[in-house]
Amino acid sequence: MIRRPGLVALLAALLTVVLLAPPSARAQDAAPLIQRMATETFNDIAGAVAALATSGSPRAAPVIEALRDNRLVYRQADRAVFIREASGSFVSALTGEPVTDAGTTRPVRLNNAVRRAIDAAMGALTLMNPDPARRAAAAEAVFKSRDASALPALEQAIGQERDARIRILMEEARAAVVVASPEANEADRITAIGVIQRRGDQDALRMLGSLPATAPPRVREAAESASVAIRRTLAVWEAVQNVWYGLSLGSVLLLAAIGLAITFGVMGVINMAHGEMVMIGAYTTFVVQQVLRTMAPGLMDVSLFIALPMAFLVAGAIGIAIERLIIRHLYGRPLETLLATWGVSLVLQQAVRSWFGPTNREVTTPSWMSGSFEVGHLAITANRLAIIIFAAMVFAALLLFLKRTPFGLQTRAVTQNRRMAGAMGIRTNWVDAFTFGLGSGIAGLAGVALSQIDNVSPNLGQGYIIDSFMVVVFGGVGNLWGTLVGAMTLGIANKLLEPYAGAVLGKILLLVFIILFIQKRPRGLFALKGRAVE
């Protein structure tokens, strides 16, 4: 745009000549630059990377790539630079030829300045990469670096690009270079600002905001009005985003509370050890991953699906054991139950602490659950989306189970009228045990999901117990739909308050609201009516 097509053609021709020249001659030019990387001074390394990227040397890409992956090393004795191959052998960084003995080497170290230089360099070098993802990343890198020397390569890449999405990215990158370039003429720069305004995200804002004060007034005015327009659109998206965050928090609350909705809501047991069932579910995930890592590393991506039934069974079994050994002796004595289960929770915490150690355990996030994607200007993180879907599935499954299976029928019968159910031949104490096991098992499932977003430590459960009780009490004891609505209401209210009131005050406001609400409606949002209440 700023250069005439003839110049571009000339540059392209030059580039071809350069690439066709014998590699040994080119390597000579790159040699002093590569040599400069054998240092401890980060600024020197960053400078050498930038110079090497524009040198046109065929050694640029492999050397910079090796540096990025921490595989570039140098010999302390004579500062000769080598690349360590994946096999562990060394090749010379200057020629790419294998060396038999590299001697004592130390790696060329990186810091953020060097990483930025590498990103910018790789951007210019990988614009023509056959892999579309790498091309997109390269365009993004150029957008961020706004490196004018990447322009010829960018022009050429735009000419060849077939993928419309990547092409837009590249055009945005070109616009960014043009806007930032003091040599470009005003009209071109203002057109380019239009391109960036269409992109309309925070990176675009950052780009426009970093325009130097020396830019011509008309360019700065255009950038200013573009920024205002972008901010206006983003403000709308921000509101949407807050609701999304609320849904996400609500789904976490729902997962944590839904097991409690059964043990507390349906059975009326104040189970303070509920959080520890969540924690046990998370630790089950850890153990499953440890076993998979040694026995079947190929299954790591589906480790969570293996962990789900395991966590359900482990937490459920522990729940049944607690019910049989402790809680069944305390039915009808809520205060004793509260104290006993509180004690159980401390015992479980300390048991896990002695067994697994007090420090956090690392649970790997499968690749399909990391990163984020954008819908409009709404950034959706994969793990949060997965948890929302998972919470909805657990809720639906539980509802079906209670409404459509014989066991569900018996559970409801026992909760509604224990003596009558007993008279009909239902073994009420076994129904109690399995219902408690079901609630605990679901808490275990929640633990698998929470291991992806929180610490896997002995304290994991403590953070959720208060919130869970809050959701169940607010939603209405004994009603699963109430739990769903309660969790979502609290989640969204929390996230709408947080940007204005801050996380601390937001939480306090919410607590005050619930206290007032319970004063008005002691049985929560969806109160059970009729005889079941007694």
């Binding site: 983003l234 150690g357 956090n360 690392e362 896997v456 304290n459 996380a503």
Partner: protein, 430 residues
């Protein structure tokens, strides 16, 4: 652990035999008791349990070298269970009933504030190994962790030198982040950073849902001015914070996060690949390549019987503190608290990063400051460090009210908060 138990039992057996030969009171003289006051249960167990272990290792090693003043050391471990008032009770138990000569312990500032009056009242000695907010100097406490000018201020200087002009001060809502951020805000303003370029925010303990905050940080950083986050987020909240940063794609090359409470131990629970390049400021990293550190890591791993056990900054503080105490006791020739306190000042021992740390008259030690970047393997690699060691400013010169205070526990001043303007001492004097 078992090993130590048998040893302690052995010592008791030896003591019992000796008691047969000597007079009964001599029995109590056979060992010197060392108190260890770290939470082994509750929320802080995650950080403090390793400090208990490192003390047990140091005591075991000292006993192999023949103990102190010809006597064996005996560790007395108590568990204050992350319960702040219980810290004071356990401290009293250690000093009054167990008659310990010295105590190593505490992590959070609130636990230290809780035991401080006990140590002053009963005139005993506490070694406190964690970086903290400063604004304190007790005659009975030796602070082996960093004061703000030994950690936070140099980190800010590093960011300013990198061209950062916009700062998010993100902290957990309690005394350490609030005081540190007050100091940092004053310091940034004095360095010409505009008030609208500083955003301060607090979240509750154990905050798990960071979506809103991370999005807000992203927004704050999208003005085109180079932005960094200074994090005093503590404990459990860090893992979800870093996970959210990684998921929302905030790269260290765009908005670096420099943390004061995240060490190798905390990183052990996270996949650090998306976090490469985010910063941490400490006085010690496990990755520091010195003979002393290599030796320490090897001893620690052998003691823990775990080839992958990590070391961290507060552990080094205990190593330094313990070595200083041993030296001071040997110099004083007694474990009497007043004599040891006098002898402590000026004691110098090698630290693990290749320098010498000295106990200063303000009861804080000199330390080098290291800034490191998180690596993909969970380690932190030094990218910048002070040329020498830095003397602690226990009373910050950047805060109104503490600007005029100095601490000097030598005669004739003997004061932890002497106001140079009024010429008066505001606290306990010994």
């Amino acid at each position: 652990m078992l090993n130590l138990k048998t040893k302690v039992l052995g010592m008791f057996a030896g003591a019992a035999m000796a008691a047969g030969a000597l007079a009964a009171p001599a029995q109590a003289q056979e060992t010197i008791k060392v108190g260890i006051l770290h939470s082994l249960s509750g929320t802080m167990a995650i950080s403090e349990t390793t400090l208990k272990d490192v003390m047990l290792m140091l005591i075991e090693e000292q006993n192999k070298r023949g103990g102190v003043l010809g006597k064996k050391l005996e560790a007395v471990v108590v568990d204050p269970a992350s319960n702040w008032p219980l810290f004071a009770e356990k401290a009293r138990e250690l000093i009054a009933q167990q008659k310990v000569a010295v105590t190593f312990g505490c992590w959070t500032s609130v636990s230290r504030k809780s035991v401080l009056p006990v140590f002053e009242e009963l005139n005993s000695i506490l070694f406190y190994p964690v970086q903290y907010e400063g604004e304190e100097s007790s005659p009975n406490i030796f602070y082996t962790g960093a004061a703000p000018n030994q950690q936070a201020i140099p980190a800010i200087d590093y960011l300013l030198a990198e061209g950062v002009k916009r700062f998010v001060l993100e902290g957990t809502d309690y005394v350490y982040p609030r005081t540190t951020n007050r100091i940092l805000e004053a310091y940034l303003l004095s360095k010409g950073v505009k008030a609208e370029d500083i955003s301060v925010n607090y979240t509750p303990f154990g905050h798990a849902d960071w979506q809103t905050r991370v999005a807000a940080i992203k927004r704050f950083g999208s003005t085109g001015v180079k932005t960094a986050v200074v994090s005093t987020v503590n404990g459990d909240a860090n893992v979800p914070f870093y996970k959210e940063l990684g998921n929302q794609g905030i790269k260290a090359t765009d908005i670096p996060v420099v943390a004061f409470s995240v060490g190798e131990e905390e990183l052990a629970g996270i996949d650090t690949r998306p976090l490469v390049g985010h910063l941490a400021a400490w006085n010690y990293f496990q990755s520091v390549d010195t003979p002393a550190n290599r030796d320490f890591i090897a001893r620690w791993r052998a003691f823990k019987k775990n080839e992958r056990a990590v070391t961290n900054d507060p552990m080094e503080a205990h190593v330094i503190g313990f070595a200083m105490w041993v030296k001071a006791v040997e110099a004083a020739g007694t474990t009497d608290a007043t004599a040891v306190r006098r002898a402590m000042i000026g004691i110098a021992v090698p630290n693990l990063t290749g320098g010498i740390s000295t106990m200063m008259p303000n009861h804080h030690i000199t330390k080098p400051v290291l800034i490191g970047e998180i690596q993909a393997n969970g380690q932190i690699q030094t990218v910048w460090q002070t040329p020498g060691t830095v003397v602690a400013q226990e009373w910050s010169p950047h805060l109104e009210g503490s600007r005029d205070l100095i601490a000097d526990h030598r005669a004739p001043m003997n004061c932890g908060n002497f106001n140079v303007r009024t010429g008066r001492c505001g606290g306990a004097q010994r």
